[in-house]
């Protein structure tokens, strides 16, 4: 017998409103992916094919992991919304350029499955999935995760090598690591060569493959601001706090005046402030809440960078503030227009 099909509705009844601005989650994800293209191009330009293979591995494995996981959990498969692809790309951007592809794929698995799907999928995760994936990799494979390669331009690499005479130049050759060593040198009255500010700005330094080129990241960040996908309070508050704290710290210790600028341009601060901390799911929903969140991020990052065991603190500060987000949302609420007398 033919199954009886429900007839198409003649007239649709629903509750207002009946119009919509037309935005969708997948369109927003597309915009964020688009905004990361300049940084992707810069990564490939500076670090070559190995970087591209890490990026492709991460993206592909993120999408596959999400699809498999959803199939196993018997949930609708939603890889089409682009969020897994975005997670994979963002994860790749905070990995060393010549990481083995197996580890990259494992990172993607952690990001998508442990970072997102086990919590219930898109919208339910507590932590930024990409940063969670990176944190798991860093804790599990510290040696591989801190083996940096230099961009093809060796002049900058040599500068770093000169600055780091006491350690293996290759394993700690990020500008922040160099800065840490330079700090101890300054305290002993020595002077050292560091990668120049312009090399830092353009991204011609060692580091995670997507975090080094500041103009490419700024371009993407401004695009996201213009499209209204991110709130300026988070990047401005975050970067501002880091700059203010490092400037005061540098001034108290009589470091060179560009100390704060160095912190601003190096490491994952720019990519973290524009692309990671602004993640919708894991940041507060009110404007006031976002400012507090950004302030917390800045303080934590500056603390870790200046006084912590790690030279870089963006990843952990974002993960820590992700945990604080529900608390902020609970206690930092808006006062309704017209007062705020509690309803009985």
């Amino acid at each position: 017998m033919e199954p009886v099909k429900a007839p198409a509705p003649l007239v649709i009844i629903s509750s207002s409103p009946y119009i919509h601005c037309g935005s969708t989650i997948s369109a927003a994800m597309r915009d964020v992916l688009l905004s990361l293209l300049p940084a992707l191009a810069a990564a490939v330009y500076f670090f070559g094919w190995p970087a591209l293979s890490v990026i492709l591995t991460c993206c592909l494995s993120a999408v596959i992991c999400e699809a498999l996981c959803q199939k196993l959990m018997q949930r609708p498969i939603t890889v089409g919304d682009g969020s897994a692809l975005l997670t994979g790309l963002l994860l790749a951007f905070c990995l060393p350029p010549e990481l083995s592809l197996g580890l990259a794929a494992f990172g993607s698995f952690c990001a998508v499955v442990i970072g997102k799907q086990v919590f219930g999928g898109l919208g339910s995760n507590i932590f930024n999935p990409a940063h969670l994936g990176r944190a798991i990799l860093l804790a599990s494979f510290p040696a591989q995760m801190t083996t940096w390669t230099m961009p093809w331009n060796t002049a900058a690499a040599e500068a770093v090598t000169k600055a780091t005479p006491y350690t293996d130049a290759v394993s700690s050759a990020t500008p922040l690591a160099a800065l840490r060593l330079a700090e101890s040198a300054w305290q002993r009255g020595l002077n050292v060569d560091l990668p120049s500010l312009s090399a830092l700005f353009w991204g011609n330094v060692g580091g995670s493959l997507g975090e080094t080129c500041v103009p490419a990241l700024l371009l993407g960040g401004i695009y996201l601001l213009w499209r209204g996908h991110i709130d300026w309070r988070i990047p401005a508050g975050y970067i501002g706090t880091v700059v203010v704290i490092t400037a005061i710290y540098g001034w108290l210790r009589e470091y060179p005046t560009w100390f704060a600028i160095y912190h601003l341009l190096s490491g994952g601060l720019i990519i973290g402030a524009f692309f990671m901390a602004t993640d919708w799911v894991t940041s507060p929903i009110t404007k006031k809440g976002r400012l507090i969140y950004a302030l917390g991020l800045g303080i934590l990052t500056a603390l870790i960078r200046l006084r912590g065991g790690y030279v870089e603190g963006v990843c952990y500060s974002i993960l820590i503030m992700n945990m604080v987000t529900p608390l902020i949302d609970r206690y930092v609420t808006n006062v309704p227009f017209g007062g705020g007398a509690r309803h009985e």
């Binding site: 007239v11 119009i19 339910s124 929903i285 309704p336 017209g338 009985e344």
Partner: protein, 453 residues
Amino acid sequence: MFSRLHTFIGGTHIDAAKNLTAELPIEAIPAPEKVVLPLSMHIGAPAKPLVQPGEKVYLGQKIAEAQGAVSSNIHASVSGMVVGSERRFLPNGTVAACMVIKNDGQDTLDPTITPRESGLVLPPDEIRQLLAEKGIVGMGGATFPTHVKYAPQSSGRIIDTVILNGIECEPFITADYRILIEHADEVIRGLKYFLKASLANKGIIAIEDNKPRAIELFNQLTADDPNISVVVCPEKYPQGSERHLIYAVTGRVVPERALPSAVGVIVDNVATAMQAALAVKDDLPCYERIVTVSGNAVHKPGNYRVRIGTLYSHLVEQGAQGLKNDPARIISGGPMMGFSLHSLDFPVLKGTGGLLLFDHQSELAKLPPENPCVRCGKCVDTCPMFLEPTQLFKAVKRRDWPAALAGHVGTCIECGSCAYNCPAHIPLVQYIRMGKQFILTDGFGGHNPYYKK
């Protein structure tokens, strides 16, 4: 000199889509064979019928009388015979007793109706009396009885400003715009009566900046009156909301759960002002109104003058020249806050500003699936009441009424800005609306009248 921008915080920019009907003059459509007049087309108690089936009535004759403090009189909108009374669903989903009058086609006006030379010589009491007697209610859609607003405040508070709401921020609807253009004199006259009735000395006509012709016209007409001015508000939804209009125009904030009179302001729609002018000077009751019929499923969108109680089917046939396509979405009111209907068998009420019909191809006839909330905060940023719709909808979904109340769910004006902007297509305001009803009915749910506790 520094001049304040006459707007509010939050809200959203919506394509007004008014060009279908904005420049079409008001057209009167012939009175229907029968009219259906609900005894409850205002906020407050239903009116008590004064006529029985079989009785003959004049056009404009009072057929039902206000009951209690907040209520309104109902008048016959055609002359003819009362043929019955029936219970009917109204567009908002409530059920009301209705009087059905068969039109004799004569339009014999009630002989007691006697126009005055001038309404301005009347004392405030008498103007209020006339507003009550002639069944004037807020015609912007809320249908609050107008005379109640103008009654002396029990708190003794003095009203200093009357604002006429000519914003009309709902897309597609142009009825108020046509009233501004074609009935400017009546609107200003109505405002003068309102000023007199409230003893206020400042009258303001607020118009959104997407209506330059109306702004120019009213600037000219009010140039020599020191008490009346025009305020231009930038186009933004929901500028027409009473609280937001008061804030935009005067900078005053109406406290939560208080009425505008708490800050010395009364707001009335321009259509109400026009009707008040007719009531006070010409002694005419509220028996017709201007309705915009629009959308891509009708042949002739336009602005039509119809008798109250005309069925939508007659309005579409006679005014809009019938249906072009099968309608898939029928909306009584605007697309942001109107009610969707399953048929055209509903009467035009005092608060009906628009009737929109869209076919299956239209975006308005689509119901995209709801996705999980990604906490983007767009609803929070856009909420003109500074609420957190995403938290409220989650509270309603898990039936956590204390959490919904702690989030000020009752403060929501149901403008729909949150749902309009949600990238996950979550019906946010719909959940909130449902939650409010659940709370009102102590967890029983729905505003269907059959679900009484």
